[in-house]
Amino acid sequence: MTNSILDTLNIQPLVAGKKPEETTVVAAMSGGVDSSVVAALLHKLGYKVVGITLQLWDYTPANDEAEGETKKFGTCCALDDVYDARRVCQTVGIPHYVLNYESEFKDKVIDDFVDTYLAGATPIPCVRCNQRIKFDSLMSKAKQLGGDVLVTGHYVRKVMGEGGKPELHQGLSSDKDQSYYLFTTTPEQLEFSAFPLGDLTKDQTRDLAQELGLHVHQKPDSQDICFVPGGDYRKVVTKFAPEAEKPGNFVDSKGKVLGQHKGIINFTVGQRRGLGMAFGEPMYVTAIRPDTSEVVVGPKEELGVKTFYVFDMNWLRKPENGTELTVRVRAGHKGVPGEVKHLDDGRMQVDLFDPEEAVSPGQAAVFYDDKNLIGGGWIENPHAGSRKVKVQISAA
């Protein structure tokens, strides 16, 4: 056989000093192609692999109301994903377990998602899920089971840094890099993790899936947030918090009322489309004030932000005040240069060198030294008022 991708891979031992056949690997398997390849590949390399799939969200009636129909149990996508993961494990010949974390997911991810919207901010539930479910509950389960390492299908790289301390680097294929979503990873969690796909492109992963005989090799990437099928997050939020649809005013930066909107939940800082009102010139959401249900709009010039505040920091390497870093303020953001300053209350002040549009509260500011993710935190809503406290508590 020639040209096998397997021959071109250079995978370091997952646990230093331990042979593959002595290493128990717990693979977090979503049923998608990435984590499936991780499990199959490591098995092929001789590791003792067990696959674990988390059932996080019950796709029965409540959610399907969104589509105006009640789907029968057994036809929903979440269960299809569990089935795909199981089938991959059967194909490969490794044990597979399903863990039901629905109630934890509700408490730690969905409630936070709703609270964040209510606080006039835009949440990233996938980060919360990584932080509070995968790298917390699942990781401790993996340890209890005698696992040596938890592996996932994220496109990030764990690189040995100075003094043998692992670092978290962006995936080599920059368009697939998922490091932003893992900024809450602590040094201890990183120590116990591995990300075998960090050097690959998505195409290479799919080719590998085919070569390894996995039926998911052409399965499309998931686009939606798993508990928001179809992407209509408003339905989810208003189901738990009907007050999110309380109408309010559009105001300009001077406080002048420009019109009415149908609830702050419909807006994200930086948004231009879908404001539901014509202002005569292109207007952007520049701030959201949950206490008064006001949405502040303004021309593009008012959107730029140079200084903002970040809370609930996580550091893999804590920078000195005034360190110049690359700052990413949303998942698709390439990153811009800026400086950071630690405040006495644990928050950070971020000073960008140039104004950046769409610095949205609720999103993460993630700091890099070149490709090396050194830490990050959550962007504060400067207008959250009494809600601010709530967001910070729920984020703690």
Binding site: V50, Q55, S140, L145
Partner: protein, 383 residues
């Protein structure tokens, strides 16, 4: 190496069963047919039925083959109350709070569909039913049928059936018992037990899956719950599962040997296992420990160690055990049966069922104890 300690879920086929079933593969006739091929199948079926009847000390016509213990329980409960004359005598069904789902849910269904009211007799901390509650319920009248399991599938606890039957006789009420977990583990004489119906399932005693039976007094009115042919003396329509029935016949053939082995060899191994477990942890306890139980079953609780985690962990070490009744899609909910013992929910989540089989060896028990100890050590470190 895989060590199988989940024999209450199902058991491996006995060698004699495999042989009998392999031979039955050659017999293709329909036992209802008149011709030679039909007669050949009928012969096989009759011989098997005689074996099953002999095991429980009944006549052949008292054995009704079904597809499973679940179907047998459904047949008794639904079939009994489907007869207007039975319903007239009493429209209340009395069960216990530790019944298998196939009795519990059927009782709920009967209540919803047929207006049969249900009373659930509670159990004490050891899993034994409250006989005073049963007596009081019988006294109030209108009880049509009492269905109380013999041995519990999750804990192995055996109910005092003699007392239950005596009480029911006093009030002229018929009794059904789900004996799926006791058949093959303790000697069962249908006549001595004094019940009117009994359910067994052959894959729990070295037979194949897909075959169970109702053992019943022949003269009781009971409706067939499937419409069709007149198989099984009009109690259960549908062409018989001849291969399964052959397996059932074979697994009951030497029942006395199996029961003796359970009592004399497996019982002591189970006791050794429990003694060993208790030495591993001070907080650990065994449900119904001092109660009469089937000889192969241990339900152990290590507070703080979730049963689900233990099952996975032991599986990875090569040991098959379970959290109790075969659970639904990995949902972590405490067992209804364990909760019924008055055990708090957080501890009920930690219930782990270990069920030995006739093939279990002492070396396996020793290896299991070692793996269990290792697991406990790891949990302590991880927490």
């Amino acid at each position: 190496m895989t060590v199988y300690f989940d024999n209450n879920a199902t058991t491996p086929l006995k060698d004699g069963v495999k042989k009998a079933m392999a031979e039955a593969l050659e017999v293709y006739g329909n036992p209802s047919s008149v011709h030679a091929c039909g007669r050949e199948a009928r012969l096989l079926q009759d011989m098997a039925r005689r074996n099953v009847a002999a095991m429980f000390g009944v006549r052949s016509e008292q054995v009704i083959f079904t597809s499973s213990g679940t179907e047998a329980n459904n047949l008794v409960l639904r079939g009994y109350f489907a007869c207007p004359e039975n319903l007239e005598k009493g429209s209340k069904l009395v069960i216990s709070s530790v019944e298998h789902n196939c009795v519990h849910k059927t009782a709920v269904d009967l209540n919803r569909l047929n207006g049969v009211s249900m009373h659930m007799v509670t159990v004490d901390r050891n899993g034994i039913i409250d006989l005073d509650d049963l007596k009081l319920t019988l006294e109030k009248g209108n009880v049509g049928l009492v269905s109380i399991m013999h041995g519990n599938n999750e804990t192995g606890v055996i109910q005092p059936l003699d007392k239950i039957v005596a009480l029911c006789k006093e009030y002229g009420v018929r009794v059904h018992t789900d004996a799926v977990q006791t058949a093959g583990k303790v000697a069962l004489s249908f006549k001595d037990m004094g019940v009117d119906f009994m359910t067994v399932s052959f894959h729990k005693l070295g037979g194949p899956k897909g075959i169970g039976a109702v053992i019943m007094k022949a003269d009781i009115d009971m409706e067939c719950h499937t419409s069709g042919g007149s198989q099984e003396r009009n109690r259960r329509a549908g062409t018989e599962n001849i291969i399964g029935i052959a397996g059932a016949g074979a697994c009951t053939e030497e029942w006395q040997v199996s029961v003796d082995k359970m009592q004399n060899q497996i019982g002591p191994l189970r006791n050794k296992l429990e003694k060993g477990l208790k030495q591993l942890s001070n907080e650990l306890y065994i449900i119904g420990e001092s109660t009469n139980r089937v000889p192969n079953t241990t339900n152990v609780i290590v507070p703080g160690l979730e049963g689900e985690t233990a099952v996975m962990s032991l599986d990875m070490a090569g040991f098959c055990v379970s959290t109790g009744s075969a659970c639904s899609s990995g949902r972590v909910e405490p067992s209804r049966v364990i909760l019924a013992h008055g055990i708090p929910a957080d501890e009920a989540l930690c219930a782990l069922r270990i069920s030995l089989g006739w093939q279990t060896t002492e070396a396996e028990v020793d290896a299991f104890l070692a793996a269990f100890g290792e697991m406990l050590g790891r949990m302590q470190k991880a927490s």
